[in-house]
Assembly symmetry: C2
Homo-oligomer: 267 residues x 2
Amino acid sequence: MIECLVNGEISSQVSVADRGLQFGDGLFETIAVIGGQPRFWQGHMDRLSAGCERLGIPATPQAVLLRELNTVSAGNPHCVVRILLTRGLSAMDFSVVNPAAATRIVSSHAWPLQEADFATLGIRARICHLRLGIQPELGGLNHLNRLEQVRARTEWQDASIWEGILLDREDHIISGIASNIFLVLSGRLLTPRLDRCGVRGVMREAILSAFRPRCEQRRLMLDMLPEAQEIFVCNSIEGILPVTRIDHWEYDIGPVTREVQDWLSQQ
Amino acid sequence: MIECLVNGEISSQVSVADRGLQFGDGLFETIAVIGGQPRFWQGHMDRLSAGCERLGIPATPQAVLLRELNTVSAGNPHCVVRILLTRGLSAMDFSVVNPAAATRIVSSHAWPLQEADFATLGIRARICHLRLGIQPELGGLNHLNRLEQVRARTEWQDASIWEGILLDREDHIISGIASNIFLVLSGRLLTPRLDRCGVRGVMREAILSAFRPRCEQRRLMLDMLPEAQEIFVCNSIEGILPVTRIDHWEYDIGPVTREVQDWLSQQ
């Protein structure tokens, strides 16, 4: 069973000179394969090409990526596939001299085990102390510079807390560490703008598209959290998880969250 | 000739599951080997252990790193050695579950060619449009999240401009893209505080230590650039380079810069 391809060859190694390792100079997609089919494939491809465009990394044809996804997920119809694209090999300096030689890594992974049915029961979250730096040049991109998330995740050990909520330095709500966030207020779905930091998740985009008339992307301040009637977080793998508690604030799992979950179950 | 060791073995490959690639979760040192000796070895080791301590990456004994540096630089007495430490292999998520298994990469590289004797003639620089994000959790560290520097370096093609000067979002001068910066004002050596962004270079630390009574680390605003009598940038490989021009501002190469260069030539 082939679990990893590097530039189309069976391998699980990359050169130490790869700019993905040296500088985090690359992008990735984490894709749910369900019943042998990649969920929201076009959404992942759209995000990846937009990211390549912004960073000046040559895009790989979608047909190549789909063939490789099928290769690494063959025999494992319920798995996670990761596509990682870097700017390729480099000299030691930051300058971009050879943008034609991207590295692509396509790998499959077991579906993550969960201790409970969090989609039904909901999850607990906490506000992280770490505040995301503001960097419009990289805002929204799913790039490989993830030390902020790594640092934020070290803030707690309590296994009953599933996610950490990240704010920026100006007290705007941005996202979870590995998820996007939606607040339900007066029946409307509010989610943070991600132009200055955070990652535009593919699940978030799919929800925005499916519920467009009731959705709003805006700056959300920390003090709006206790005002929300419902809160959920989402990502490509876990789907839509109701939040029942953030620090000392408690939330009911409400009808809007269940409606969005119902929509997802029909995708 | 051995040019690269990965965890002490002859190799130039790392696993695609390495957290250095997945998240940029690691640190590096770029060391000048001159006459077969690593320059400012102790400074590099001090910075690396401080970085490991801050990120919670297990430190490698210095004796091991020195032995490996000697192995990869044997037969090449004038070269650059890079030591890269990552948090090792990972599951796909951000949580740090196995901090005992760092990956270390020690590699040698040809000394970079320069088109001119920039230490004598000085260099030109420009102010970058990109503003560094403010992130005290990572400020000063020489970590592997370097997309800001990569992006900033794409802003110009003009080969006569050697360096880009980076400011933060509040118009503080921080550093060059691959160097630290010193301003000479009334005989004093001023260099930016690097507690919120930027990299504490080993050459910068060595200068601060050698010229301590005349040095000051402080917040430097953009509007101090035209006031400076002399400016130089520095890093471990290039040493000390006088700056003769930043955008439309011109500078003489003055006695303080030459004095610091003289000090370095005696190290």
